[in-house]
């Protein structure tokens, strides 16, 4: 910001107009201003003294910002101009499946018939929602090859924990106390964390030189105390675990269960189902695979589908189509209609439910988006999604093979991991540098430094919604960047065309300023 007052109407913080910082809402505040307008109610205007006992009364109001609606709009509109998004360009962030999010789903989520329904309304009064959830449940079972599903988990990690609690309940119901869960070294960090929260110990298995679980090592760690194994397939290196059937056999052999981390489900839609590979528990990241957008970090939805032997343990209550006997009946995808008979749908508790895992029924409006997305595609369409996602990733893999080192030089699935280790050795330019330089080229960075098993990893997931022209432009941008590094350019200065340059992460952690009130007295600038 140039010197002078923090002014609500100054757009110099919008990249369109220059690169100043945007003041916080608190700096734009002036006591006495307001935006709010509330309905006229006609209710007697009792004073606070008449309503709240003295000891409970707040002395001063919560200090929030006081701004005009005009300044509120200016502020957040300008902030939006300082934010990259799928709608602005390609987002090849590996493991995140940042595909295009169809706008029709926004319309679905905004339908008053869905968005304005209270979650505690009696089942009779929300038959449409129950039908929707029952339909989605059936669809997700069909996609994963499982028998039953819970829609409650709010994100992938919540699904993981739910799955592990199911694993625990299953073994306990059989009178078994199993303590260990096996995880490959390439796994996402949420997997071990979930295992710990589920009350298990983590046993790590290494990857082999082909980037897959080392089968021998796996066999070595399996035993009667193994509750199960968590895998994603294709794994986080974008490689399909070819020995999955054998692995499943081995795990089942020792009485363990197989958990499928659905973060990579996009790659195999309609090609192979986790259930058919031998998995017992599957979570899905609807915000990835089914494009429910990621919202700058959430909301997501992480439904968990299970094989029939685990169905009775699922969280409750579950939405069901009612049978005369009072229980629920399975439905076929597409068989649900809105012309529901009164009371056709209701809630039901699985016999040995582990209990609730969400305040209500899960991230319902996210679930509705996912169902809409799936319905537009249908079975065929989902298969096309997987094909194109894998095609795009492989095309980039081959196209960039001479530019960056491919971590594992074999056909990949929906994403491909490159390594900047060689580049770094030659030029000093790291994976991070390449990612930052890509920002300046008009692309979001790939995922960097994950998976941990690859040195200087650059994990590229183009997704199926990017065109060949975009892939080519992305490849050329990478070429330019690598050429610049080879030519001696210091990529540490990148990016320069973004609203801010590289940020000082060390200072952020060292002297934590996590609220406006924690700001040091003198302004930084």
């Amino acid at each position: 910001m140039s010197e002078g007052p923090a002014a609500g109407g100054q757009a110099s913080s919008a990249p369109l107009m220059g690169h100043a910082s945007e003041p916080t809402l608190f700096e734009l505040s002036q006591p006495g201003r307001r935006s709010w307008q509330l309905r006229t109610t006609g209710i007697p205007e009792w004073g606070i003294e008449d309503l709240v006992p003295a000891e409970h009364r707040r002395v001063a109001p919560v200090a929030l910002a006081e701004v005009s609606e005009r300044d509120l709009v200016g502020h957040f509109t300008r902030l939006s101009h300082r934010q990259y998004s799928v709608d602005l360009g390609a987002y090849p962030l590996g493991s995140c499946t940042m595909k295009y999010n169809p706008k029709v789903c926004d319309a679905v989520a905004a339908l008053p018939g869905l968005a304005r329904v209270h979650p505690a309304a009696p089942a009779e009064l929300c038959q449409g929602w129950l039908a929707l959830l029952v339909e989605l449940d059936a669809v997700l079972c069909a996609v994963t090859g499982m028998a039953a599903c819970t829609l409650q988990p709010a994100a992938g990690a919540a699904g993981e924990l739910t799955g592990l609690l199911l694993m625990r309940a299953y073994h306990e119901a059989r009178g078994e106390r199993r303590t260990r869960v096996v995880i490959p070294d390439s796994a996402h960090g949420t997997n071990p964390a979930s295992v710990a929260l589920g009350g298990f110990e983590v046993t790590t298995v290494p990857s082999d030189e082909r980037g897959c679980v080392d089968m021998a090592a796996l066999l070595g760690v399996l035993g009667p105390d193994v509750a199960g194994i968590m895998l994603t397939n294709p794994n986080t290196l974008g490689l399909f675990e070819e020995e999955i059937v054998e692995m499943a056999g081995a795990v089942h052999e020792v009485g363990g269960l197989l958990y499928y981390d659905g973060a990579n489900l996009n790659a195999i839609l309609g090609v192979v189902r986790p259930g058919d590979m031998g998995f017992d528990i599957v979570h899905m990241n609807l915000h990835k695979t089914f494009a429910t957008p990621h919202g700058g970090g959430g909301p997501g939805a992480g439904p968990v589908a299970v094989s029939s032997r685990l169905a009775d343990f699922l969280p409750g209550p579950r939405p069901v189509r009612r049978t005369p006997s009072g229980g629920g009946t399975p439905v076929a995808p597409g068989s649900v209609t809105s012309g529901t008979a009164p009371g056709e749908y209701g809630w039901s508790w699985p016999a040995h439910s582990i209990g609730r895992v969400h305040s209500w029924h899960g991230n319902a409006l996210v679930l509705a988006r996912a169902l809409a997305y799936i319905s537009v595609h249908g079975g065929d369409g989902l298969r096309r999604v997987a094909e194109r996602a894998v095609l795009n990733a492989n095309w980039l893999r081959v196209r960039l093979a001479g530019v960056l080192d491919v971590a594992y030089d074999r056909p990949c699935m929906h994403e491909v991991v490159f390594s900047a280790a060689g580049l770094k050795k030659r030029t000093g330019a790291s994976a991070l540098d390449v990612g930052k330089a890509l920002l300046g080229e008009g692309f979001h960075s790939p995922t960097v430094y994950f998976p941990l098993v690859t040195d200087e990893a650059l994990m590229v997931e183009p997704t199926e919604t990017e065109s060949l022209q975009t892939l080519e432009a992305l490849a050329r941008a990478c070429e330019r960047i690598v050429a610049a590094a080879e030519g001696g350019e210091d990529l540490h200065a990148q990016p320069t065309s973004t609203p801010v340059g590289r940020v000082d992460e060390a200072q952020a952690a060292r002297s934590l300023v996590a609220t406006f009130d924690a700001r040091p007295e003198e302004p930084r600038e």
Partner: protein
């Protein structure tokens, strides 16, 4: 065959050619033939967008309880508050909606700064110095607070007031099974938790209370700080963030951690989600704070900039040593809350809280004037919600009122579930009706509800 895929037939051919493949099937040669799906997914064919939208609209029509058709007096943690178009428009901007977690700060200042502002607002509401970037919902925020408390004290015994929302307690119980906590529920009487007095057995690492509790009552939270301190326990307060507009902050009452459900701040009822888990804590616990945290810093040329920070607490670094596994959270709802709280501002939040309290007071007065309706929580003060006993089962009341255009409230037994709640008698559960009056409810609507209820309980 409508979809969102850009590939033309020529491009498919040329790309396969480039890869030396004969067909798209060849892309999947790594998948063992034995498990490959032969006939494709057992799903209906794809349908064009307008057909799907029409189907979804029809499902919406089948929801009689929509708040644009039935006047909403249901609450229990999910409220029909005013959300102006300006909040929807700003929070709905596609830059916020279609971005990922802000891993690349240089191109994510929009989300980062909005979340920084959100953190500030939540911290101020809670009366604590720091708040995180959001958790899934109220229940998950509570569970994370317990994780934090147990990790901080090393003691897995958790005392939880029965005034905490029944579903949140249920979620805590579910997760406790994995984490190995001993959860002790402390019952209510007349709307107040009967905390153990004097020297008691047990050694809680965490004490959890609600303010106001789920029946709308203001409990004696003043006693809790000393209680927790006596046990060296972490005090967690589940606070209603709207009522906080007129109530002393939990921080002032001595809370170490404040959790809450942030749906009231701009997020639609949406059948229960996506909502917003609020989480704030004392400075001592900042390195145990679950989830993401945005910090302010500078860029290379000294300009103010924002970035996610203290990553070292997070599961991707700590892996199995992490005390939380949350990754994707509810950022968009946090951004929405920042916009809504920006819209309300200092005076607006206080006004909304005051109006809720007035409406609750007016509804209480009118409802209790009906023959046969009695308060469920004695004369404990209520500000946010009220629980009454109805002469006919509350579920019947709700059903009957729906015919008159009202969602009369939430029947207690529906909330506490089939197994009931130790703190609510079976009779109270069956005949308890929880009525919420937000600032959107008019006197005319309340009078209409009361008149209809009067008839319904006598029919």
């Amino acid at each position: 065959m409508a979809d969102y895929l850009p590939h033309t037939d020529e491009e498919l051919a040329s790309m396969l050619d480039f890869l030396g493949l004969a067909s798209l099937d060849d892309l999947f040669s790594a998948v063992p033939a034995a498990v490959r799906l032969a006939g494709g997914l057992d799903l209906p064919e794809g349908r064009p967008e307008p057909d799907v939208l029409a189907h979804m609209e029809a499902l919406g029509e089948a929801n009689a309880a929509r708040a644009d058709r039935l006047v909403c007096f249901a609450g229990a943690g999910a409220y029909d508050h005013e959300v102006p178009e300006v909040v929807r428009a700003l929070a709905g901007r596609s830059e916020f909606v279609t971005s990922y977690t802000p891993y690349q700060a240089e191109v994510a200042q929009g989300v980062l700064q909005a979340v920084f502002e959100y953190q500030t607002m939540v911290a101020r509401l809670a009366g604590l110095p720091v708040a995180n970037a959001s958790l899934y919902d109220g229940a998950s925020a509570l569970a994370e607070a317990v994780h934090l408390g147990v990790a901080a004290t090393g003691r897995p015994e958790v005392w939880v007031s029965a005034g905490v929302h029944p579903h949140w307690r249920a979620v805590l119980a579910t997760l406790a099974a994995g984490a190995g906590y001993q959860v002790v529920e402390v019952p209510l009487a007349d709307g107040r938790t009967r905390w153990p007095q004097g020297s008691v057995t047990g050694s809680p690492g965490v004490v959890v209370a609600a303010y106001p509790n789920y029946l709308g009552c203001l409990e004696d939270v003043g006693a809790l700080g000393p209680l927790a301190a006596a046990h060296g326990a972490v005090l967690v307060v589940a606070a209603d963030p709207v009522a906080a507009g007129i109530l002393r902050s939990p921080g002032e009452w001595g809370a170490d951690v404040v959790v809450g459900e942030g749906q009231a701040f701009g997020t639609p009822l949406g059948f229960g989600g996506p909502y917003l888990g609020l989480f704030a804590c004392a400075a001592a616990h900042v390195r145990r704070l679950p989830g993401r945290l945005v910090g302010e810093t500078v860029d290379t040329s000294g300009r103010t900039a924002y970035v996610t920070t203290l990553r070292a607490r997070e599961q991707d670094i700590r892996r199995e040593k992490a005390t939380s596994n949350v990754c994707t959270n509810q950022t968009l709802m946090a951004v929405t809350a920042a916009v809504q709280l920006g819209w309300l501002g200092t005076t607006g939040l206080a006004e909304v809280a005051l109006r809720c309290a007035r409406g609750t007071r007016y509804a209480r007065q009118e409802l209790l004037a009906i023959d046969g309706i009695t308060p469920l929580t004695g004369d404990t003060p209520v500000v946010r919600e009220l629980a009454v006993r109805t002469p006919v089962p509350a579920r019947v009341v709700v059903d009957r009122l729906a015919e008159h255009g009202y969602l009369a409230g939430v029947a207690l037994d529906q909330l506490v579930g089939e197994d009931g709640d130790p703190s609510v008698s079976a009779a109270d559960a069956a005949h308890g009706l929880l009525v919420a009056v937000t600032e959107r409810r008019t006197r005319q609507e309340i009078d209409g509800l009361v008149a209809a209820l009067d008839k319904a309980v006598r029919r």
